[in-house]
């Protein structure tokens, strides 16, 4: 023990003097980052010809005041409230069905997109992942606008749009869940000569199912929010009502629709928060 201690160099009583690094030098990543950020921000504001003068003008303030004043008087007409309820249910149905279709489509695409074991050739992995990324990177609203051409106005286009975008999201998540599943049970079945389909059904799927379900529920929550506004391009639900009544400047109806939208989102938030707390207890 004593011999060991001798080998350790004894630190100097006073620390060796070292000049602090220069604040700005070519290697200072943070400096370049901040400089780039400042340039980007200034360029953005400069190039956008924003109409602040117009926004803060007395005329626009008055219009805004009037607009929000009118928004403060929501209509509670029975027949309208009934239509509003129907539209809210339509929004919910769109999101639920869209998510269900996406879960099926996502699982179907996740199978070719995942390499389940080391000897798996997974020939379609690259192509399928490319497709999934393409589906995922185009937002629901753009899909809805595109699908209006083939599906016509109405909730069907919205449902399909949600399904297509969510297929991309879920497919990728599912593929990752399948690839990360423990290999043991699948390996045991494979060595017994069980064909790939059954190996998936009886070994992999059983293990990853809870994870797939939780991803699906999480996306459903997101999709309810998305479905509420998707309609502004004409794809059904609350959004379509909003765009319609706002276009006609019927402010009290618009106000009720906005309240319904906020309530729907708030209810989803609260239910999700509570269920997470109950489930994680």
């Amino acid at each position: 023990m004593a011999a060991d201690r001798k080998l350790v160099p004894i630190p100097a009583a006073n620390e060796t003097y070292r000049a602090p690094p220069r604040l700005f030098d070519a290697r200072c990543k943070a400096c370049w980052f901040v400089a780039g950020l400042v340039v980007l921000t200034i360029a953005s504001f400069w190039s956008l010809e924003l109409q602040w003068a117009r926004f803060f003008s007395a005329d626009s303030m008055r219009r805004m005041g009037k607009f929000f004043g009118e928004l403060m008087s929501p209509t509670a007409n029975g027949e309208f409230l009934w239509r509003l309820t129907i539209a809210s249910l339509e929004t919910l149905a769109m999101s639920a069905l869209g998510t269900l279709l996406a879960a099926i489509g996502g699982l179907a695409l996740a199978l070719p997109a995942s390499r389940t074991h080391a000897e798996d050739p997974a020939r379609w992995r690259g192509v399928t992942r490319l497709v999934l990324n393409a589906l995922r990177s185009i937002p629901e609203l753009v899909w809805a606008a595109l699908l209006l051409i083939s599906a016509g106005l109405g909730p069907f286009a919205g449902t399909l749009a949600l399904a297509v975008h969510t297929t991309g999201v879920l497919g990728r998540l599912f593929a990752e869940a399948i690839e990360n599943a423990p290999q043991g049970p699948a390996f045991a079945l494979r060595t017994q000569g069980v064909p790939a389909g059954r190996v998936f059904l009886y070994a992999t799927l059983v293990q990853v199912l809870p994870q797939l379900l939780s991803y699906t529920l999480y996306r459903w929550e997101n999709n309810i929010r998305a479905a509420a506004v998707l309609g502004v391009v004409g794809a059904g639900g609350l959004g379509q009502m909003l765009a319609f009544h706002m276009g006609l400047f019927q402010m009290s109806e618009t106000s009720s629709i906005l309240i319904a939208m906020i309530l729907l989102v708030a209810v989803v938030d609260i239910v999700s928060y509570l269920s997470r707390r109950i489930l994680s207890r």
């Binding site: 990543k29 980052f33 980007l40 921000t41 360029a43 953005s44 504001f45 190039s47 956008l48 010809e49 924003l50 109409q51 602040w52 117009r54 926004f55 626009s60 219009r63 805004m64 607009f67 249910l89 339509e90 149905a93 769109m94 639920a96 069905l97 269900l100 990324n133 393409a134 990177s137 185009i138 937002p139 609203l141 753009v142 606008a145 595109l146 051409i149 083939s150 599906a151 016509g152 109405g154 909730p155 069907f156 919205g158 449902t159 929010r225 509420a228 506004v229 502004v232 391009v233 059904g236 959004g239 909003l242 765009a243 706002m246 906005l258 939208m261 906020i262 989102v265 708030a266 938030d269």
Partner: protein
Amino acid sequence: MSTIAASSPAWRDPAWSGRVFWFGAALVLIVPALIATEFKPWTLFGADNLKATRNFLADFLPPKIEGEFMLMVMRETWRTVAIATAGITLALVIAVPLTLLATSALSVSALTGRMNALPFVFRQAIRGTLIVLRSIPELVWALVFVRVVGLGPTAGVLAIALTYGGMLGKVYAEILESEETHVTNSLLRSGAGRLQAFLYGLLPQSAAELTSYTVYRWECAIRSSAVLGFVGAGGLGQQMDASMKMFNGSEVCTMLIVFVLLVWLADQASAWLRRALG
């Protein structure tokens, strides 16, 4: 014991009744949903729709890459990024002061037990404001501001500023409150001001996390500023909407490709920055 071992395994599926029940329940839920969403897949293959789809898709290839059009696409792409950046900057202007006001870690009265009633109510009110700002989708804000300031990027910038101001403020407050409060408390106890305690206690601990969340939100804002164009708030979305309404497939195709590339680039940039922040 021996009787159990000797008896043959049950041929009936023990989970049969549960399966039948859940299948029935799913049917009961799905059928109304199918009716409510007017789910008629065969309309996709109706003669008229099929023709429109085929014409539109046939026009996709080749994508339009003529000089003047590409210049316009590039300009609009830059505007999409600029709307997102300007929106996030204004969102920070909203979020940072509100976060400082809402953070309970900077409460002086909470140093000696419970926070006083007035500051507590005030902080909860600020937090409520942030949640309300966040819970109204940016698309709805954009619709409202397009009515007030007219078509163009101003509406998009304001919409992003309000929604993302709420989001950033709420998450910033949560990040700050999850930090170790030891340093902050010591500073406050020895007479530092709240701003000093924040700058020297809370901020150094959480700066990386705050920056990384902001960068992530900037990436989201680019995606949403493209979408906001569809209600007339400028940028790539507005041009895409115009081309779709004219069934101009080749223009739509180019813009979709540019949009996917933009999202991919923003994703890579944001991932790189967040990795660099550690």
